[in-house]
Symmetry: C2
């Protein structure tokens, strides 16, 4: 199998660990190494390095090369970020260029998978379904009425593939309110949309042609440049004018293509905030629910997340549900339950002319 690993996104939700120049996908926030490297390592049993296509922002090309330290993965640099549809189109194009005839897995670089073995089994099922055509997605089996994710509704039709089950996917739905999310959870027909798709490249490109013709024209021009060997130059010319649109919104919501969903219990998390990182690292917490890394001393603290990786000692006394993140030039102390509001800090930095901190 080939894989397109989407490394765009300049999230600030992990400030101060993440910065404009060093977004989450390049960080070791899980304690297992940089997320993009972990994502590739996870795929290594089923995808060869030279068949992994990383699509990333041009500003991150150099750092990513360092992270992979000579490994033979492919890297495509977007001159500007244009959301997932152009990124997946470019990746599909490049997979074809590399000679890919079967399915390609399209995955975000910055997600966490608690059970990589199960993930690969589910991905294998998706691959086998996708060989027959259509677009296959992993549907993350929900364990809570999450309002922060989009959902995928399955139908009754099921396909058995080597003793495993795929469903027809009926609908991609936007983030629900709590009431709907509870109903989705109770009904058992809805899965979280983890943004992981498997399809043959010509199917992705065909859908783009049907639904976002302007984008397709741009991709055609890039395809010609691949034959001519001037992709980099053409990317600069073509990319800035492309429509910025997500694959979910631009393609999946209206596609007439066959859609399938593989229920997956692979311990997926999009790691969208310090709070969710704290949750998924539960096994590392001490008896009082504290998660501490680096140089720390905790005295009578509870359910707190203390990251002291800047070489300085971080001493905490009597904290409850507090987040402390120390870095060389900035420190964050926050209510751990409010880590989704870090954008407010980031906005404050912008307003306060502290852009260099972003």
């Amino acid at each position: 199998m080939f894989a397109v690993i989407m490394c765009g996104g300049s999230g600030t939700r992990f400030w101060p660990a993440s910065r404009r120049q060093r977004p989450k996908q390049f960080l070791d926030i899980t304690g297992r190494g940089p997320m993009v490297v972990e994502t590739c390592d996870r795929l290594a049993p089923v995808v060869r390095d030279q068949d992994m296509i990383l699509v990333l922002g041009k500003d991150h090309l150099e750092e990513t090369r360092k992270l992979f330290n000579g490994r033979d993965v492919q890297m495509l640099a977007e001159p500007v970020g244009k959301n997932t549809a152009p990124c997946m189109g470019l990746g599909a194009l490049y997979a074809q260029h590399l000679g890919c005839r079967g399915p390609v897995a399209f995955l975000p670089a910055d997600h966490f998978i608690g059970d990589p073995q199960r993930f690969l089994e589910d991905l294998g099922t998706a691959e086998r379904v996708a060989q027959g055509g259509g677009i296959v997605t992993l549907g993350i089996v929900p364990n809570r009425p999450e309002t922060g994710y989009g959902y995928i509704r399955r139908g009754q039709d099921r396909i058995d593939v080597d003793g495993r089950t795929a469903y027809r996917a009926l609908e991609f739905v936007e983030k629900p309110d709590l009431e709907k999310a509870r109903a989705y959870l109770a009904g058992g027909e809805y899965y979280w949309n983890g943004g992981i798709f498997v399809a043959r490249p010509e199917i992705i490109l065909g859908e783009i042609r049907k639904q976002i013709p302007g984008l397709y024209e741009g991709l055609e021009r890039l395809g010609r440049s691949l034959d001519r060997g001037n992709l980099e130059e053409e990317l600069k010319a073509v990319y800035p004018a492309l429509e910025s649109v997500s694959f979910d919104y631009g393609i999946m919501e209206n596609t007439k293509e066959d859609l399938f969903v593989i229920p997956s219990e692979c311990g997926w998390s999009d790691v969208g905030s310090w709070g969710s990182l704290y949750d998924l690292r539960r096994p590392e917490q001490d008896g009082e629910g504290n998660l501490a890394e680096g140089e720390t001393l905790l005295v009578e603290c509870e359910r707190s997340f203390v990251s002291g990786r800047a070489g300085r000692l971080v001493a905490c006394l009597g904290l409850r549900e507090v987040l402390v993140v120390d870095t060389d030039d900035a420190l964050l102390v926050a209510d751990l339950n409010r880590s989704q509001d870090i954008r407010k800090v980031v906005e404050g930095l912008k307003r306060g002319a502290r852009d260099k901190m972003l």
Copy 2:
């Protein structure tokens, strides 16, 4: 007037700002400069620099010289700390040596005075009373049933000095429990003992002779060395063997000398914890009760104290009653209401072989 400024004490209650090598009296924790310098500046209208006698630990001599930057104050280095009775005895001796014939003010170097003008008026009253003999103390008029301070009980006898009032002091009492403290506050006959005494040096030395004869012998030997010019050498020989005892306990509790107390409303605080510092800097707090200094960004915080003087940005989000103190090599994050428990952090550092952080 002469003054003896007691700069001993190696408190850790302001860790991580205070360290073994840099105790509170040498820090600028109030935002007005190092406390010992502030203490001298406060006295400057009534005491000449050359009549200010700083008694300090030998390890702090060099740094203190730097803080005073060539100013002509006297500095006496104790080879080891021996609490306040030896310190005051040595200071009294040295004041005599400098030719002092009138009263000397004995004061801690690390206390805060909110109203320096009023303080000097009260000190002036004390001086005039002390000229007639006896030991005079400032009695801080209490505004809360504090259990962390010793108290002074006044009698009914009053002396009027230039239209101001002094009382006979009947009793020095130890830190009370809350019930007693409430009674003290309600009764109006009790003052906080701020450790500020005014007396002629021969009276202090005479009391030491009567009550702590061993200490007096040591001081006599030091007195002879002053005439011979080998004080430093003799301090090394004599000091380590002296009894370590406080003036309150060793002298004041049993003295037969005349004792007087001047009620003082000078805005005194012993600044015993980060929490008390937060309280006394109330005028600097913002509308939500936050006290922030240095490079800080506070978003939706309440009643928090954030000190960011290490040059790094300290960003806080959604905190309530949290203390954050950032320094170059250590950071403290604590429940602001538990700042008196910082000793637990210090003990943790000792246990964790992090002595260099102390």
